[in-house]
Symmetry: C2
């Protein structure tokens, strides 16, 4: 089976040009087929502030009204996505930036209103993996942002961690898929104040134990839930890692099921 590496990058890595540059340089050196998935929360917040829009977050998830969706689309699919693509091109990595609307890559449905109305947020329904395979076979590296659509003309904001795991799952029938979540810490930390307290390996049982002990930080919980979901549905390996993507220095948490 052909190997494919799917990397999700988000949070503070995207805000720092020097760190992002180094990350993209290392990403471009990956020799196997590869896909990059990105969010970019902080830049959306900054733009919302400049435009005097209020930012609402409940349970770590952004509440997205129409104006917020417009800003998210501009920042994710516009500035962040295209700046990443042109950077990768300069490192001779032939990349192509995509939202979920492009080639109907990610079809989603607006999250049903239960206790909370998350607004213009989409839960993933279907991945167009045939299109992704076509791009990968043509030696293109897709760079996918966290905007999806409902196939009825409505864009929707979608969690980038979930996009990464769902794309990994959809490709695991045809490829040996390694999924790496890159963020500002070098893995899952035992102690949030100690960057050296990276847990080397974490399985689902341990995760639930740590949850009871309140050891796992709020932002990490959906990332790990996505990781276990990916592993249970055929993804070869999942790592929670830092920013470098540098083989020699890369500390990380290997997630196992």
């Amino acid at each position: 089976m052909d190997k494919i590496i799917i990397v999700k990058v988000g949070g503070k890595l995207i805000n720092d040009d020097i760190i992002l540059n180094k990350f993209l340089k290392n990403f471009s050196k990956i020799k196997s087929k590869k896909i990059l998935i990105h969010g970019g929360g902080n830049q959306v917040n900054k733009m919302s502030e400049k435009l005097n829009l209020e930012v609402k977050i409940i349970n770590g998830r952004r509440i997205t009204n129409k104006q917020d969706l417009e800003v998210a689309t501009m920042i994710f699919a516009g500035s962040i996505n295209k700046n990443i693509v042109t950077k990768l091109q300069s490192f001779n990595c032939n990349s192509i930036g995509l939202s979920g609307a492009d080639a109907n890559l990610i079809e989603s449905i607006k999250r049903p209103v239960d206790k909370i109305n998350y607004g213009m947020v989409g839960d993933i329904k279907k991945i167009n993996s045939i299109f992704l395979k076509n791009l990968l076979d043509n030696k293109l590296s897709p760079v996918i942002c966290s905007i999806t659509h409902n196939k009825n003309g409505q864009l929707l904001n979608t969690n980038a961690d979930t996009i990464a795991s769902e794309i990994a799952i959809s490709l695991s029938k045809d490829y040996l898929v390694d999924l790496i979540y890159c963020h500002e810490k070098n893995g899952v930390l035992l102690d949030p104040d100690d960057d050296n307290s990276v847990i080397a390996e974490l399985n689902e049982k341990q995760f639930h134990n740590y949850l009871k002990l309140n050891i796992i930080s709020n932002g990490m919980i959906p990332k790990l839930q996505n990781s276990f979901n990916a592993l249970n549905k055929g993804v070869n390996s999942v790592k929670i890692a830092g920013s470098s993507l540098d083989k020699i220095n890369m500390k990380n948490t290997l997630v196992t099921n």
Copy 2:
């Protein structure tokens, strides 16, 4: 030779949701291979105003500093491009939104500083027509915005009319290319105040005569220069048309060489 229709849409058409919707519905009905190219000047101006950025235009061309480029990238490659793509998908037109950086579609060079420093503006150097052909063969309709790049990590703002003619030229070796410039008037007007004064046919000699008589409006001049360039370099036909793309009602100016 297989036929391909390349449509450029810009200006006020993009600002009006109802007109744009009708236009996209008609675009999606075109049965041959097709490409849509868009600008979106007005929305960039509005966002620049909201962000308190100054807009500079010299000889009908925007002077683009780094902040302006950031806004143009957000609006062109982000909100306008993705909103068009999701609308087309809802009309069962399988489209894919692209900037010039994606798959190295349009490589440009920063315009040299002569009398005027246009800033972060790119003149087209090379079109990746092989990639476009691959998309078209896979029944995808590319939707291309007016952001290009220099292959060294720098995005650049590029005139959408010129992108349309250069893409038309690059594909004319392999396809019978019909290029249509859609804008808010039904063609080239003899009298700018009379929407019914559409010139039915206009060749290069007549154009130069009209230029001397000051009959051609400033905004129309580069559009027509691009049209003649396209015709002289192998494009099958060029029309300057209105917003409808509706065969029965479509008045237009047929440009001939």
